[in-house]
């Protein structure tokens, strides 16, 4: 969360976050979302008005813990089903543009 902490102390850099998320936004969109996000962050900052010095930071809103399943194999989907939603396929695999490292 380090990266976001840094951002939220001031403003969210919408253009940067959009690039990370592979979203291509027009300048006007960046402005619109910037305004909306600033508003949301400002709203969340109301929390700062409370005295939270004795409250532990939480990572989860519910109090559940240790939700496990046993190590048992269950059949997967049929390959036809798996590929049914693939926009493109090659040899029963999801086809993507050539990956160059």
């Amino acid at each position: 969360m380090a990266a976001l902490d840094k951002e939220t102390t001031d403003k969210i850099d919408v253009a940067y976050v959009a690039r990370l998320a592979r979203l291509y936004l027009a300048d006007t969109e960046v402005q619109t979302f910037q305004g909306q996000l600033d508003h949301i962050v400002g709203y969340m900052k109301k929390i700062d008005e409370l005295d939270l010095s004795n409250v532990e930071p939480t990572s989860h809103a519910v109090t559940l813990q240790n939700v496990f399943r046993e190590d048992v194999v269950k059949p997967g989907l049929a390959v036809e089903q798996v590929m049914a939603n693939a926009p493109a396929q090659v040899s029963d695999q999801f086809q993507v543009p050539k990956i160059i490292e």
Partner: protein, 481 residues
């Protein structure tokens, strides 16, 4: 100028579970593409992950084996990045609350033992596999969601050889712990290597590079043997090292800078809301600690003490936990553990390596080997016949005494019978006899060989040798020696 090297390793180990980390899909290797997948590991919206209990347990056991502190509170986080082999566009991993913190692995370099610190062990899911076709790539998600334990070392490693020794020691511990098959051919263990150099005397570390996704230990060794001098050369010629990710090219033996992915290092971790935290009580940790398998080093020391075998033997026998188990089961049934050790270190390991077999698959039982050693010790069979019996046990299994009876291998220690063979051999090998009498002692060995042949290998060789010696002495006197 002398340079100091600093190396840290991130080792990804596939855990030995039957099903994936967050769903019931099989982890079996080698299935047809996209046949071990479901909505969870394909990252379908709304599909909910549920933690594999055994994967968490195995990670904690691994931590205990290397002396980690086990976190009473641990949680999972989403690591966001985009790559075609990752269906959700985030990987479920652990950021600030890993399951295990700290620990160390002991290595031996040139007889000196050192501890390499471990920073943490966390649990995460593997990604899919890319196949490259002529004009496109294909993604197989069978491996996506397979549980991976990431073991991060401290930057304590100072040479390629130490890195190699660390990996071997770690693998041995994990095999002893039974938490991974550590099968490198199947990609069970993969390493990322961080490495930097700095001039001697400089306090702060140099700029590091990361070599990604090495899937053999030799690869780690060779990549470092290339990368360290490369960095030194750059600095010596007044250049600068860039913090970058590099790839090891096996064919050409060089590391190459990978196209840097822009912003790739801003993973924007945040808590995985779909998974509840893992809370492990002191009692649970102590329970696991009590049932922990012995460490390879502890077992080696114990073998030396308990079975009075040389340090060398103990080292060979404990290298593979299954070999150590076989030895121990057999030695417990025998009054001659050293002989058991000899059979395993020579015949057994030779046959296993010739056949590329695993000792877990052999048909010869520890009890049969103990029985064979007893037959030799009681001089029921000689060592020639014992080799024959071992070979049969290795092929078909069975009981050694039964094989000895069936094959008629009981040692002939009846001196009358042996004398007959000796007389015949002396009569038939006049040349060897006169050679011996002319002072060539080795000629007697040839006659021993002839007698052993006549007895079809069953004669007691010591008895044969002494009878021949006596007879030849008599012969010598007869000829006026």
């Amino acid at each position: 100028m002398r340079y100091l090297t600093t190396i840290g390793l991130e080792v990804h180990v596939q855990l030995r579970t039957r099903s994936k980390m967050f769903c019931g899909c099989s982890t079996a290797f080698g299935a047809a593409p996209n046949t071990h997948v479901c909505p969870v590991c394909l990252g379908y919206p709304g599909a909910m992950p549920v933690m594999n209990r055994d994967a968490v347990k195995m990670t904690i056991i691994s931590g205990l084996m290397i002396g980690s502190r086990i976190s009473e509170f641990s949680k999972f986080d989403r690591k966001s990045y985009f790559y075609p082999d990752m269906p959700k566009n985030y990987q479920i991993s652990q950021y600030d609350k890993p399951l295990c913190v700290g620990g160390s692995v002991e290595i031996d370099i040139d007889g000196v033992s050192r501890r390499i610190g471990v920073t943490r062990i966390h649990l995460e899911e593997d990604v899919g596999k890319n196949m490259h076709f002529q004009h496109s790539s294909g993604i197989d998600f069978n491996r996506a969601g397979v549980p991976l334990m990431e073991i991060v070392s401290e930057p304590d490693i100072s040479s390629p050889e130490e890195a190699f020794a660390y990996l071997l020691a770690l693998k041995q511990i994990l095999l002893y712990a039974g938490v991974s098959d550590c099968n490198l051919e199947e990609g069970n263990v993969r390493c990322d290597v961080n490495c930097s150099v700095r001039p001697e005397g400089q306090k702060e570390f140099g700029t590091k590079t990361e070599i990604k996704n090495l899937n053999t230990f030799k690869g780690v060794l060779n990549a470092l043997k290339y990368e360290i001098p490369r960095q030194v050369d750059v600095l010596e010629s007044g250049g600068k090292i860039f913090q970058e990710t590099r790839r090891w090219e096996v064919e050409t033996g060089v590391t190459i800078a990978m196209r840097s992915k822009e912003y790739a290092h801003d993973y924007r971790y945040f808590p995985e809301p779909d998974l509840a935290p893992v809370v492990t009580s002191c009692e649970q940790i102590e329970e696991l600690r009590r049932n922990l398998p012995e460490l390879p080093r502890t077992r080696r020391e114990r073998f030396i003490q308990q079975y009075s075998i040389p340090e060398y033997d103990a080292g060979v026998l404990t290298a593979d936990v299954a070999v150590a188990d076989f030895f121990e089961q057999s030695a417990k049934l025998s009054s001659n553990p050293k002989a058991i050790s000899n059979w395993i270190m020579t015949e057994m390991l030779r046959l296993l390596s010739e056949r590329e077999m695993d000792i877990r698959k052999v048909v010869v039982t520890p009890a049969a080997l103990a029985g064979l050693v007893k037959l030799v010790d009681e001089k029921v069979i000689n060592s020639n016949s014992a080799k024959e019996v071992f070979a049969l046990l290795f092929e078909k299994g069975g009981e050694p005494d039964q094989i000895v009876r069936e094959k008629g291998l009981v040692q002939v220690s009846d001196s009358g019978a042996i004398e007959k063979f000796v007389d015949q051999a002396i009569a038939e090998n006049a040349k060897s006899v006169s050679d011996y009498l002319a002072g060539k002692d080795v000629a007697a060995k040839y006659i021993v060989g002839q007698v052993m042949k006549m007895s079809r290998g069953k004669a007691n060789p010591q008895l044969v040798a002494s009878i021949i010696e006596d007879k030849l002495k008599v012969e010598k006197m007869k000829r006026g020696g």
